[in-house]
């Protein structure tokens, strides 16, 4: 099957600052692909290159198999939803939604005052357009708002009008540049739901830029994470969470953030936390410093009696509804904080100021080499030391 969108070795620099380098990406029809990354990673620039608002320095963009590099935004048959919605303030919601169709179907002459009355087909076309606006408005439940100007709409309503304007042309590809970032937290959760639903109903391809990993995790079929202008990892949300390809991805995906503990490889490849073996063995790599990543839910705290375990002191305990987040300081290395997620009903036993042993299942741990890249590991059959 033909890809909905293909990027081949896209590079872009602004002056001497490189923004994107050698991005390769293929998006299947009907996918919901999120581009995530910290601010300044080039994700918005990549979206603007896809849209045609910005031109890449090298590489090729193909939409539905067709190279579009020389085409202007309007010839690419894509729609974009902007972060600040970019609604035309002097037009009503209905006029905003109608504009793409008006521009598409009526000539400039047919839209001038007075002269337009000379066109025999104008009335018919305008009637068709208002019918289509009605349908889109119904789908997004904005019919009562159509007569209002953007200034009279709330953030969520503007968002919907912007979506309607994108939908009305029925493009095969939707580009969204952080469309939810201007909404309040509650509305954002709601719109997340609606967008996922919309994606399912339309069956179109969505490219969604966000710096919010929760949005990416909850909505996407795949996530592409950019870091410093390079594609750090691409995969399903579960892939990125369970097998992060690098320290950057591991730190970015997941909330609260993953715990990164400084560790060391001994000459046999055993991963050591201080002087203690972890039960984790690196399949390759030289002896030296490495980083051990542990998700907050994969750490178990043990009463302080057990030996041969890294110890940590409970500093603070936060209520998060069903869970509680425990903030601890490692005894061996006081600079390294540790966050542990514990179900609410198990928290009674933990008291601030007390010291606990840190345990984890080695197969749940992630190992990253000095370059920050993921290292292949295996676990020792006979668990020793810190294994839970």
């Amino acid at each position: 099957m033909e890809h909905s969108l293909e990027l081949e070795r896209i590079s872009k620099a602004f002056g001497k600052t490189g923004v994107l380098s050698d991005i390769d990406l293929a998006v299947e029809p009907g996918e919901f692909l999120s581009l995530v990354g910290p601010s300044g990673c080039g994700k918005s620039t990549l979206l603007r290159i896809i849209s045609g608002l910005e031109r890449q320095d090298s590489g090729q963009v193909r939409i539905a198999g067709r190279p579009v590099d020389v085409l202007s935004p309007r010839a690419r048959n894509i729609a974009m939803v902007f972060q600040n919605y970019a609604l035309y303030p002097h037009m009503s919601a209905a006029e905003n939604i109608a504009l793409p169709l008006m521009v598409d179907r009526l000539s400039l002459l047919e839209r001038l005052p007075l002269i337009r009355h000379l066109s025999p087909r104008r009335k018919r076309i305008e009637a068709a357009i208002s019918g289509e606006i009605g349908k889109v408005a119904e789908a997004l439940q904005i019919e009562p708002l159509l007569a209002r100007k953007p200034g009279q709409l709330s953030g969520g309503q503007r968002q919907r009008v912007a979506l309607a304007r994108a939908m009305v042309r029925q493009p095969s590809l939707f580009l969204m540049d952080e469309p939810l970032s201007n909404l309040d937290a509650q509305l954002r959760v709601h719109m997340r739901d609606e967008l996922t639903d919309l994606h399912r109903r339309l069956g179109a391809t969505f490219i969604y830029v966000t710096h919010d990993q929760i949005e990416a995790m909850t909505m996407s079929t795949r996530i592409a994470m950019l870091d410093g202008g390079r594609l750090a990892q691409i995969g399903s949300p579960a892939d990125l969470y369970e097998r992060p390809a690098s320290l950057t991805v591991a730190r970015f995906i997941g909330s609260p953030a993953i715990n990164i503990l400084p560790a060391r490889l001994d000459p046999q490849g055993h991963v050591m936390l201080g002087a203690l073996p972890t039960g984790l063995v690196a399949s390759e790599g030289l002896a030296g410093p490495v980083s051990l990543g542990l998700r907050p839910e994969h750490i178990r705290l043990h009463a302080a009696c057990e030996r041969a375990m890294p110890m940590a002191t409970l500093r603070r305990s936060e209520h998060h509804g069903a869970d509680r987040l425990l903030h601890l300081d490692l005894t061996e290395n006081r600079q390294t904080g540790l966050i542990v997620r514990v179900p609410q009903d198990e928290t009674g036993q933990f008291q601030p100021g007390e010291t606990y042993g840190i345990g984890f299942a080695p197969e749940k741990a992630h190992l990253f080499g000095p370059s920050g890249l993921r290292m292949a590991t295996r676990t020792l059959p006979a668990r020793i030391g810190a294994a839970a």
Partner: protein, 294 residues
């Protein structure tokens, strides 16, 4: 909280505002009052006592065909030069806003004409449009006297319209450019994504959003062309030929300072003042309602 500074010492406060008040009184209210007094009396040119004549001066100018001619040419001049200067400025500003090659140099150059004094502008255009030796005289090669502002009324009108618009265009250009640059880039990009080309973006997005600026410039340009065209006319046409460019403001000057008929000039300037006030009022009352301050 009241953040205004208040003076307990009224004498100090009075002393601080006094220079400003004095300036306004000496250079505005006093002459205006004087003109008002002259308009209702006969002012002897070489001194002597005024005689109160009531509305007679006004009756006389309104009965004068020459006066009505100057009203007519003033309106023609205002309409043409406002349309031309606003239209050209809008076009240039839209082009500069697109950041075409060399736009920075052009932006700089386009503002220069406003920095040139009106008589200098008039002099330059007088040379350029001179029918015998000027730059434009080339078209007289096609047919003799095709262009001759010294003989043809409309040619003279076109000449002062072009000279005045050239100067005002610079002013309008800066306002349009500033307004265009304050339109969020996102709106233009959204329009581009929606399929609008350059012309449609101008028509659908930019010009409607410029409406407040357009309105402001309309008021300023019309007012300016009524009261501030003296310098150009005096240097280029001197009101001629056959009073074809005898605008109201120029007629006030020639009646007053050449004809030494101070009373008649004073009455005319009162009429001109009321006309400008009236026009501005009408514009604010009726045109502004159609302007969206989005």
């Amino acid at each position: 909280m009241d953040r205004r500074a208040t003076f307990d010492n009224l004498w100090l406060a009075g002393a601080l505002v006094a220079p400003q008040i004095l300036l306004v009184i000496v250079f505005f209210y006093w002459p205006t009052m004087q003109a008002l007094y002259w308009a209702f009396s006969t002012q002897p040119p070489f001194g002597g006592t005024n005689q109160w004549v009531g509305w007679q001066n006004f009756q006389q100018i309104f009965a004068d065909a020459v006066y009505w001619n100057s009203v007519r040419v003033s309106i023609i001049f205002a309409a043409l030069s406002t349309a031309l200067s606003i239209g050209m400025a809008l076009l240039l500003a839209l082009m500069i806003d697109r950041q075409l090659a060399g736009h920075k140099a052009y932006r700089f150059v386009y503002f220069w004409p406003y920095a040139i004094a009106a008589p200098a502008v008039g002099l330059a255009f007088r040379f350029i449009f001179a029918p015998d030796a000027g730059f434009v005289s080339a078209i007289n090669q096609l047919a003799p006297n095709l262009w001759n502002p010294a003989l043809k009324g409309w040619d003279a009108m076109i000449l002062i319209v072009i000279a005045n618009s050239w100067k005002m265009m610079a002013y309008n250009f800066i306002f349009f450019l500033a307004a265009l640059q304050s339109i969020p880039r996102g709106l233009i990009e959204a329009a581009a994504m929606d399929g609008s080309g350059v012309l449609r973006r101008a028509r659908d997005i930019q010009i409607p959003l410029l409406a407040p600026t357009l309105f402001f410039l309309l008021v300023i340009n019309i007012t300016e062309s009524f009261v501030d065209s003296f310098g150009i006319i005096d240097i280029t046409t001197g009101g001629g030929p056959a009073r074809a460019t005898d605008l109201m403001v120029f007629k006030i000057y020639s009646d007053g300072f050449k004809g030494l008929d101070y009373s008649m000039a004073a009455a005319q300037s009162i009429v001109l003042m009321l006309l400008v006030i009236g026009l501005t009022f009408v514009q604010f009352r009726y045109v502004e309602k159609r302007v969206h301050y989005a």
